[in-house]
Every structure is written in structure tokens, then in C-alpha cells.
Symmetry: C2
Subunit: 218 residues, 2 copies
Amino acid sequence: MSVITIERKVLEKNDQVAAQNRELFQRHRVFVFNIVSSPGAGKTSILERTLEELKGSLRIAVVEGDVQTDFDAQRVARYDVPVVQIVTHGGCHLEAGLVRDALVRLELTGLDLLVIENVGNLVCPANYDLGEALKVVVLSTTEGDDKPLKYPTMFRNAAVLIINKVDLLPYVNCDLARLRRNALQINPGLRVFETSCTTKAGIAEWCDWLREQVSRQK
Amino acid sequence: MSVITIERKVLEKNDQVAAQNRELFQRHRVFVFNIVSSPGAGKTSILERTLEELKGSLRIAVVEGDVQTDFDAQRVARYDVPVVQIVTHGGCHLEAGLVRDALVRLELTGLDLLVIENVGNLVCPANYDLGEALKVVVLSTTEGDDKPLKYPTMFRNAAVLIINKVDLLPYVNCDLARLRRNALQINPGLRVFETSCTTKAGIAEWCDWLREQVSRQK
């Protein structure tokens, strides 16, 4: 029981810092999303395709969260956008305080869009508000259509679901209609995109939607 | 700092219960492995193929760990083996105490092999000993060849790596040789199998190895 109490206190403390981050983002009129998924679902690849599409028209920065290594930050830095790497050294999720510390190294003034790429984990990051406008959960078709029911908190707390790797549908045991149905059963308000970072299917629709969110923030 | 201290105490308590579980398993001469991976890497599918292959010759039972739902236990129960479902209700890993509670519902006498299928999470279950003889980590080729370096603790604490979904290699950006190299860089002692639950490639080798482990336990 003591552990539960402490966890609640950790979450309360996290939420306070998240509220401060959110205030900071709103003051600078930056649209911020927190992108979450299992390892290897394609968060960084979606980010790469998004940067290709939007870099000319929007000013974008990235905060990368990883358990270990700065591989993802290196991939993103090739697109010539400001990127800050947070290494959690075994920690299973980002917390608002880590993001606040990362923000010291970013210029928010003039920024349109900030992407926070979380640690690859479909469980723990669900409960940690970082101050983002919304969470985007990525699920790969290779993970199977039952995952929204098996890991419901993440799908409940996200506003957007990107179903990625749709190019692999012919080769995997995943029913796209059932996946959508399962996700919407958990969270009927989910905005769903279907993408492939290989064929670039769905990337334009996702980026159009992002542009709209950014313009609303202004 | 207080959180770290408490986490250490939680781990110490867990390790005490894990040691009791291990003693119980050894007394009954049951070989026990704890199978871990990201969501959707194929733990349950490997278990299904393993049950098909070994059910006639070995007495097997399964403990299923899930954040929510008993879908995996239902899949496993079709093979007519004893299965106990643990639902963590949001918890991101199994703990030794949960396994101990599940064991009350299993007859260990006469059992050869007990499989504990952990929650889909490549981070948190790495640090929790359940009393198993060893951890088997499953990584799908669809997750990419960089994952052992990005999530090193799990690969360091496992004795076996199953690289699953090798049938998808022609369609995904994953260099099998590099994946192996990265995994062995983290843990040179890893026993590596390459499998496909669709084509059944590698399943016989994996099951032969399992038979050997079981016979050593007797």
C-alpha cells in the first residue's frame, strides 16, 4: 500500500511540472505532441517522414527519449532541426521534469511544433503527462489487432492513433478493421491514421492534420 | 532519492520471493523459463508452436501475465495444458509474488516445464526475477536491428534470444547479422534462435534445446 501512495505522489508531482510545461508551451504558442509506442513500431520513422514533409513550412524541434543510446536523435538531426536527447538510463518512461530540463536547451520562441518522442513502451508512458497538447500512439500492424484491448490505458489516454506499417498487411496476421474497432471500443474519440513509412501512404493526411493543429495554436 | 530507495526495497522483497519460487521449482524438478518481449513480438505464438511440438512428450503448464484481458490464456488453453492467468490491471511487469499466488492453482508434481509469459514490455520486466531458471527474450525482425543496444538491460539479463518473424525479413529494414552482432555485444553468452511462427522455421531447434534443458533438470 505504501508503494501505491508513493506512486500517486510521484504522479502528482509529475502533473505539477507538466502543468508548468504546458503553460510555457501555450505562452509560446507551440503545438506539442508526445509520441508513444512499443519498441520498433515506427515512432522515429514517422517523425522522419513528418520532418521531410513539414520542415519547409513549419519550425520544428524534437525531444528524444531513450533508455540508452542517442541513435534516434542522430537520425532526426540529419533533418537539420534542433533536437535534444534525454537518456533515461533504464527508466521506462519520460517524466515532465526530464522534459523541463531538456527545454532549457531549446529556443521555444518562434517554434511552431515540438515533438517529444517517448521511450518505446506501451505501458508506463501512458500515465505520465509531459505537458503536451496530446498523445499520439503508434501501433504497427505487425503487433496484431488485439493490442488496444490488451494495453487499454495508452489507447484511452491518446487522442490520435497511427496504425503504421500498413504495407506489411499482406504478410501478417492483422485485421485492420478489427484493429480499428478494438481501438475505438477503448476510446471512441480517437483520430485514426493509417501509414507506411516505406510507401509513404497516409503521411500527407497525417501532416495535413498536424498543420491544422499548429495553425489553431497560433 | 527516496523513490530509488523504495524501488530497491521492492526489488529486494521481490528477490526473496523469487528465491522461494526457485526453490519450489527445483524441488519439483520443473524447468521454468520467463518469456519477455515488446507487445506483439510473438511470445504467445512461439508458445503455441512449442506446445504443438512438445505436448506429447512433456508435461507443460503456463502462467500468463497480461495488463488486461485473458486472450493469451484462451489461446494457450486450446492446447489442453493447465494455464493460470495473471491480470496486472495496468502493472507493467510480473513480480515474484504474483507468480507465487498463481502457483497455488497449479500442480507442480509431475510437471516437466513451466512457461511464464510476461507482460509485453521490453523495459520493466528485465529487473524482476520471478524464480525462473532463465529469461528468454523474443525480438521480432519488424522491430529493427538496433533494439538490443537501445534496450540493453533485457538482453543482458536474458540467457536466450529468439529472433522471431524471420519470414518478414524481405519486407522490413532489419539486418539479421547486425541484429545478432548488437545482441552479442550486449551479452556474448546469449543463445540465439531464429524462428518464424508462420513457416515454423527454427521451432524444431528451439524445442530440441528446451527438451535438453528439461532433461538436465531431472
